[in-house]
Symmetry: C3
Subunit: 373 residues, 3 copies
């Protein structure tokens, strides 16, 4: 129980639930003033303010609609999830859904940003497959999952007079060990996208989202015909300990010039100071929300977790000088009660090589207050 | 029961309900490349993503607020309904409402887009009276209805330094036959609008809404003092069969140049392949949502309907070369369970005469997935 | 009971509530055509259309999220409240909250716009401290309250490459008399804001919000280092009678030029024609919603209130010719049932001296329909 509204019909065939997530950030930036590039501005921000309504209709049909109210302008405000699905098949764990939702790609993207170990995802999020309008079939079983989808464009894109781009994506995972407090998760994923003559850009802030300054940035890559992104992921849990690592590589095919390849990876680990463990679900093969064993109040102190991450991304290839960035992040998470989370992240940009922010080795202190219901 | 949230106080005098509608479209366009005008881009789109909250207060007062979250920018995102009403009168069927809601005009506009027979309304929707802030009184009885309202401007318009436009609209219907599975509906409506020196524009896509290209378009008509739009409507139901037709004509009065007249009409018919019928309500005198007799699952296949429509619109008069367009549409609707709908529409543009898209006889394949709760 | 949705867990430790407020305005302007400045346009408007979700988590934690759907563009649409709080302290009345909410400043700003005596706040609302992202501690007891907060920037501002501004604000009130139908309220407040090199502007419409024309306006004041705004407030209730007055003064410190001082005040009084009284709460030290003793229907006529206000604001100092405006407002409020309100305000601009609207003594008729649930 973490708040929110839920109702169920007497026979259980109809359910409706309303909930949301609220994330408030503040950040302080320390910089070497002799470095290239622009300066970072301290500040506060509503990082996400999402509400959703989801439900079950006639037992076998389910839907979700979620909207993000944060941000100014249409850049970030907008529909995140809008889909309808069916799981009334005889085949165990099979479901089909259609609508706008996340492509099945990248473990850290499958994990809700409510439940990531750090305030921001690792820098390879530059290669995110993100969300598109499409159709996906998936099978989720206790020891393995597989998902395959075909996708059109984003929810907010209109066709205009050119045809929209399209994509194809799949992800498969194997969990030889999957018990409470004990997990071995391995996964592979691929995502192909035809741009139909469009442009592509990869860029990333140093795992912060207040100042809006991208430290690595390929700029707009024109004439990209299509690109294929591959990912390999591993995750482990043993009681208080958890570990997670991913490698992503993208290859861009261009019509008139040479092809390009960019890549990156991260590895992170967490340790609960309290008697807690990072919970996992085979539905979508991902981590879910920490619920403290001993909630704050009446002698309880909630759940406390220390976490460490190393991440690297390389956006340099051929004539493209997008820069390479290596970061290390130290995180502290406090979960006083189910639904609430307070996080402090210290990010040290170890090195930026190339690009417009060459040598800008900033350090960042970032706080988040978050409640989900 | 189709999901959504509803609560009622013990005495039934207070109710609150939350619900919504989600419509996801995709379209493929075939074109004669030798035609004039721009090309149509295939694509996908969130057509509508609306949530509402409505309720009853102290038994006699009722209100509704609905917002559309779809689209980019303020063009389509925005408040649809926001009004409060009172129906505690002694006179049967009388209610008064104030706020932003649809002018009482055009049968196909009164029918919720959830419940229209085709994915898009017929091309005379170019003459829609749409919604405005106003006050309306209406009487809804089983065999007749009448509504009359006075209206200001749209919800999203500010006065600035000029006074806003205003309008007056009324609609009356007569239903000599109105039983379940058996309907004869006749109606007349008029809508007058004073523009206060503003400009007016009529335009329409070929009954599709992905590419955003208007095939007929008067352009901005300046110096329009006021315009009067008249409509005649007829609808029939006999068990599995339904029919619906409307004629609309608008006359624009201009200060310094000659007056203009545009018009159009459509006729459509539907036939359920299953033992279903199109349901109708005298409240607002319109069709409502199809609920399949035999829901999908456990041997049921839901409701299946075939539909055919011919539509024409003429935006040419005097010096205005807005074009004339004739379309025929073949539709297939599947309602697996109450609240869900999947539709396929094939639209053949029979002829475009005049305007910027002269002779652009496209054909269009359009799919919609829709769920309302 | 005024509608809306509320659920509670069996032990009462978890609650969730959904509600909103809807305000629809229309205004007619009368003007002396010989005056300077632009003309005012009559019109209608959705003044506010807000929905909120709020709740209690694990008994001691509480949160709120509210969004305003009215207006075009991001100017007015946006997050109003987004915060989480804790009140599980042993100290009576103590609570702490973090997020985006109103600075503790100005009685008429603390009172929800649902519950203000007139449709628009008095002209000193030009000095509003408004909402910011921050942390605030407050103690609310029956006979006194105090609140102190430190604030960053607005919810919708990003840091960019400059650090954001910040502020510090406090408000204390003393209520020697605080019973139902009997109140003496005295308060003092201060609000300091560092702009970090930003610009500041004070401007105000003549207590109307349809035409969007500001009658007094300092223009953009550049080079403002910081400003300190002080307020003194008093409120009284004796059965059907209520009174309220405030004085606000702001001092701007500028780096390179001389400092500036602007100020203003208002006094207002209300008289219920029916057996009703203006209710007050020590939580936030403010008036709350009128609930009619005898609701409309079954012989009841609801609550009727007459109100009168005088307000003045002076935005002239040194070289700044922002103008001075004196208004008097006559108001009539009808509360047919709890949650509903209809108001008519007649505003007479007594004098505008200086500024771009010198001598533009307009009179304004303004209606509002409002429902909150």
């Amino acid at each position: 129980n973490k708040g929110g509204l839920a109702v169920k019909s007497r026979d259980g065939n109809f359910t409706t639930q309303i909930g949301g997530r609220m994330q408030l950030d503040s950040a302080w930036y320390g910089e070497d003033d002799s470095a290239a590039g622009s300066t970072l501005g301290d500040g506060t921000k509503v990082r996400r303010a999402r509400l959703y309504i989801k439900g079950t209709v006639n037992k076998d049909w389910f839907y979700k609609f979620e909207y993000d109210f944060a941000g100014t302008g249409d850049t970030r405000k907008g529909i995140t999830d809008i889909w309808v699905g069916y799981n009334g098949f005889d085949f165990e764990g099979l479901s089909v859904k259609a609508g706008h939702f996340r492509d099945p790609f990248m473990l850290q993207d499958q994990i809700s940003d409510n439940n990531t170990q750090f305030t921001e995802r690792a820098s390879i999020d530059a290669f995110t497959a993100s969300r598109h309008i499409g159709v996906m079939g998936s099978i989720d079983r206790k020891h393995w999952t597989t998902a395959l989808g075909v996708f059109g464009d984003k929810a907010n894109t209109n066709g205009g007079s050119d045809d929209e781009g399209w994509g194809l994506g799949g992800r498969s995972t194997w969990m030889p060990v999957n018990e409470k407090g004990s997990l071995v998760h391995l996964g592979l994923a691929a995502n192909y996208r035809s741009t139909r003559g469009g442009e592509v850009q990869f860029k990333q802030q140093p795992e912060t989202n207040i100042s809006g300054v991208d430290f690595v940035d390929t700029g707009k890559l024109l004439d990209v015909d299509s690109y294929l992104t591959l990912g390999a992921e591993v995750a482990l849990v043993k009681n208080r300990f958890s570990g997670q690592a991913e490698y992503i590589r993208t290859q861009l095919e261009r019509d008139t010039t040479s092809d390009l390849t960019f890549d990156g990876w991260y590895a992170q680990t967490g340790w609960f100071l309290t008697q807690d463990t990072r919970p996992y679900t085979h539905k979508g093969a991902k981590f879910k929300a920490v619920k403290p064993n001993s909630p704050f109040g009446n002698g309880g102190i909630g759940a406390w977790e220390l976490a460490l991450r190393y991440s690297t991304i390389d956006l340099m290839d051929g004539a493209i000088n997008g820069g390479e960035m290596d970061n290390v992040t130290l995180g502290l998470n406090w979960f006083p009660v189910a639904g609430l989370r307070f996080s402090a992240n210290y990010i040290k940009v170890l090195e930026v090589e190339g690009g417009a922010h060459d040598n800008e080795e900033a350090d960042i202190m970032q706080l988040r207050g978050q409640w989900a219901f």
